[in-house]
């Protein structure tokens, strides 16, 4: 379904005239940089890439593309893992030059930001006011807030505080016909339009400005590691910690394979190599609260068969544990040239049963599996290691991936917990939505993007629309 074709004559000059010098790329060599996002197995080449430097330029770009009926794909830093920011023909609209934090409002505890601002940049701007932006995708040093909002990104610390959608106050979007629109969560008596634009993956328009919530920095934060001889026990401990009345800010699981690569890397945090699974549990709040929550959680882990709980002795040790967790993805490069990053969410109590079954599926397909994920949310990442130069391996990865998705859905789960659908999960959408729901979503898309220009081929499977009355 390639939309590849020559751009209409006059479009490129019009774009160049509308933008700052150097903001339009059309040479094939330079376009290659944009042929994929962080899902490297999926690629496509845009006809041009543009870099608007502000919302007026962005609006003008979308208007020009609408007039010329040329499809476009919004893109932030390209760190997405679902193939959502890849254009197969058409124009890639990069927001990276719209990277300013426009305002930090300490009284209102919000910040107004441009979509291309790095997630970490919001924190840097908020920190002097004793505030922070809570969602923390592992790529926060590189990813943009616009991408976070488009995909409704999560992160380890979203367990207690909620994912991106819970921290968006209001959005300004440029609709696919070039009309700007400000939406909120229905505070004006309307529907929660911002709730749908968040996570719509660029299929309903491009985000041009975002007002996000900020929260006060915690007064105390502490973490511990719980080491287990069985993955299933670690999975069981996850539910038991909640049953003890504790909601940690983060509750992560790292398996043996992951520990081995991380410990061999520069991010080694002293995790024992003979551990089948480790839980990273972090609590924050006031000092008494952290102390008693950690004590309860440690008891719960021990009751589930943890052979040892190990508290971070100081801030340095705590940060080392987090480095080990956050850099695990990169460290997997030691094992294989490629990682198929899986993302699904399941009811928490299904983890003890599912984790051994993921391993079984991987081994049946002769693949190595590395698990490191947000166990507290039941948001699993059973990552498959492979070499994309080997077509047979790629084929096996896709088969194993599909089996894992089907298994998660069967357990009551969903096909993506935080990475989004993009192109990668489109084929799995029918696992969690029936024809009626897909038809409603297609009509939402169709009525907002009548010419079908906004990020075509993403999020929704290509099904015939329902027969209209």
């Amino acid at each position: 379904m390639s939309s590849k074709r020559a751009l209409p004559a006059g479009l490129l000059p019009a774009l160049r005239a509308a933008l700052h010098p150097g903001a339009v790329i059309e040479d094939r060599d330079r376009l290659l940089v944009y042929e994929a996002d962080a899902l490297t197995t999926s690629s496509g080449l845009p006809d041009a890439v543009v870099f608007p430097a502000g919302r007026d330029e962005l609006t003008r770009v979308i208007q020009l593309l609408h007039e010329a009926r040329v499809p476009f794909v919004p893109r932030g830093a390209g760190t997405g893992l679902a193939g959502g920011a890849v254009a197969d023909g058409g124009v890639l609209v990069c927001t990276t030059r719209m990277h300013r934090v426009l305002e930090v409002d300490p009284l209102g505890r919000t910040a107004l930001v441009e979509p291309g601002a790095l997630t970490d940049a919001i924190n840097e701007a908020a920190a002097p006011h004793g505030l922070r932006y809570l969602p923390d995708p592992a790529s926060s040093a590189a990813c943009t807030i616009g991408g976070n909002v488009a995909m409704n990104a999560g992160g380890p610390h979203c367990l207690k505080y909620g994912v991106t959608t819970d921290h968006v106050v209001a959005l300004e979007v440029i609709l696919p016909d070039g009309t700007p629109l400000v939406v909120n969560h229905g505070e004006d008596g309307g529907l929660d339009l911002a709730g749908v634009f968040t996570g719509s993956e660029g299929t309903l328009g491009v985000i041009s400005r975002i007002r996000v919530c900020l929260a006060p920095a915690a007064t105390a934060v502490q973490a511990f590691l719980a080491l287990f001889d069985s993955v299933a026990d670690a999975g069981r401990a996850v539910s038991t910690i909640f049953e003890a009345g504790v909601v940690p800010v983060a509750l992560e699981l790292v398996d043996r394979e992951t520990i081995a690569v991380v410990e061999a890397s520069v991010f080694a945090a002293g995790l024992p190599l003979d551990t089948e699974a480790a839980l990273v549990v972090e609590c924050e709040g006031d000092p008494e609260e952290v102390e008693e929550d950690l004590a309860e959680a440690e008891q719960a882990a021990l009751a589930c068969g943890a052979r040892e709980v190990r508290r971070a002795r100081d801030e340095q040790e705590r940060l080392a544990i987090w480095q080990a967790r956050k850099k695990a993805y990169g460290a997997l490069g030691r094992l294989a040239p490629d990682v198929f990053v899986q993302d699904a969410a399941v009811p928490r109590s299904a983890l003890p049963d599912l984790l051994p079954r993921f391993a079984e599926i991987a081994s049946r397909h002769g693949l190595r599996l590395a698990n490191f994920f947000h166990a507290g949310d039941g948001n699993v990442h059973p990552n498959l290691l492979f070499d994309r130069r080997d077509a047979d391996q790629v084929d096996r990865v896709h088969k194993a991936g599909s089996e894992i998705m089907a298994l998660c859905v069967e357990a009551g789960g969903t096909i993506t917990g935080e990475h989004g659908v993009g192109t990668d999960k489109v084929r799995h959408m029918a696992l969690v939505f029936g024809p009626e729901e897909l038809s409603v979503m297609r009509d939402m898309k169709g009525s907002t993007d009548r010419s079908g220009l906004a990020n075509p081929g993403k999020l929704l499977p290509d099904l015939p629309t329902k027969v209209s009355a």
Binding site: D192, G285, A345, G378, I415, G417, K425, E437
Partner: protein
């Protein structure tokens, strides 16, 4: 008004496709949970059909270990609270009297005193079943804590009243029951300026400030501390010292706060149907907004009760319905607040936030609220509602 009380989703779908579509209505069908005993003013005279979900009140699935429960939309909030509490869990949400239905609560998404710590209604709805106005039965979301597959229709359903369809079941996120919960009543002169004073207070899990504006009352606040015993006990001491140092009287409420919290004494809702306006000032404009409101309301003939949630900057105004029903349009003070020139265009529903939602009240008030929204968002809303309805519904439905 004839009220139909179906016992299943299929029966609702059938009612929609037969009874409703056969009739040519010049008004909306009214969907309701439990409150049809007292239809909102202005509705009883119209040739309307009523649909009540009272008979869809079962517990459908409860997974305490996964902190999730699925119930019929017609279940009473008090029944839900009891089920959840029996398992040592918590639904830290308030804002509706206990005799309302779960469906009505999700569909109207009222602001609550725990929103600042645990998030508003929209954070708690994980999945739902919606019978569309063309009879299609649709299921949205999954029983999981994180889900980004497809458009986030659960969010759209929260606060949508019945504009997208009829809510028949809801899956909710629960929280572990806090090991300790204490509730305190604060009163005294310094609370007159609620927002700045309470913003300086030690961290609170729940906080609501109540007053009757324009009556020169000092107001009172109800606050909740929840968490581990040591933390709650330390913070109780801090709260006492804080209150004492400011001449604020503090009194502990006996008994565990129920779940959801009962409406405090004197709240207008307790006496029957009410009108409620919600103004989201945001924390930034709360202080000035409250001053404006106080001034504007003092010239209003009716008696209003005010609830302020300082953590989120939301103000709820409650009045007896018969007062609101007299009005053929939104009260002048409301328009004045929304269009306050001091805050310029920022005061309109823009990226700066402040906005008005009418939670309950006569149809005229709802229509006025609709007019206050931007043409752009009304347009997208209309397109999406049509995507759900399947046909461009000749009626406007409402969950009242």
């Amino acid at each position: 008004m004839r009220v139909h009380r179906p016992g299943s989703e299929a029966e609702i779908a059938e009612w929609v496709t037969t009874t409703l579509h056969r009739r040519s209505l010049d008004g909306a069908p009214v969907v309701t949970g439990l409150s049809l005993g007292r239809p909102p003013s202005g509705l009883d005279s119209l040739p309307r059909l009523g649909l009540s979900t009272t008979n869809l009140s079962s517990m459908l699935d409860f997974q305490p270990r996964d902190l999730m429960i699925t119930v019929g939309a017609g279940m009473r909030l008090s029944t839900l609270a009891r089920l959840v509490e029996e398992q040592g869990l918590w639904l830290p949400l308030a804002g509706m009297p206990e005799d309302r239905s779960v469906g009505g609560w999700v569909a109207s998404a009222p602001a609550g005193e725990f929103d600042g710590s645990f998030g508003p209604v929209r954070r708690h709805v994980l999945a739902c079943t919606l019978v569309l106005w063309d009879g299609r039965i649709t299921r949205w979301g999954r029983p999981v804590m994180k889900n980004v597959a497809g458009y986030d229709v659960n969010k759209l359903v929260c606060g949508s009243r019945a504009r997208l369809g009829i809510l028949t079941s809801v899956t909710l996120r629960l929280w572990p029951g806090p090991r300790e919960v204490r509730r305190f009543e604060l009163s005294g002169e310094p609370l007159r300026e609620a927002a700045p004073v309470l913003a300086e207070a030690p961290r609170l899990e729940g906080v609501v400030w109540r007053a009757r504006p324009g009556l020169d009352q000092a107001g009172a606040a109800s606050v909740v501390l929840a968490g581990g015993p040591a933390s709650v006990s330390t913070r109780t001491r801090v709260l006492h010292d804080w209150a004492l140092g400011r001449g604020i009287t503090i009194r502990e409420e006996s008994g565990k706060p129920t779940n959801p919290c009962p409406p405090p004494e004197g709240r207008a809702q307790r006496s029957g149907s009410s009108a409620a306006y919600r103004i989201t000032f945001g924390r930034r404009y709360l202080t000035t907004g409250l001053r404006d409101l106080d001034r504007l309301l003092s010239s209003d003939g009716d008696s209003w009760h005010m609830e302020v949630f300082p953590a989120t900057g939301v103000v709820r105004l409650l009045a007896e319905e018969r007062q609101a029903a007299r009005r053929s349009q939104a009260p002048a003070w409301l328009t004045a607040v929304v269009e306050a020139p001091a805050r310029g265009p920022g005061y309109r529903p823009t990226l700066e936030q402040p906005a008005v939602r009418i939670e309950r009240g006569g149809l005229a008030a709802h229509e006025a609220a609709r007019r206050m929204r931007s043409a752009g968002s009304r347009d997208i809303e209309k397109r999406w509602i049509t995507a759900f309805a399947g046909v461009e519904a000749p009626w406007q439905s409402d969950y009242l």
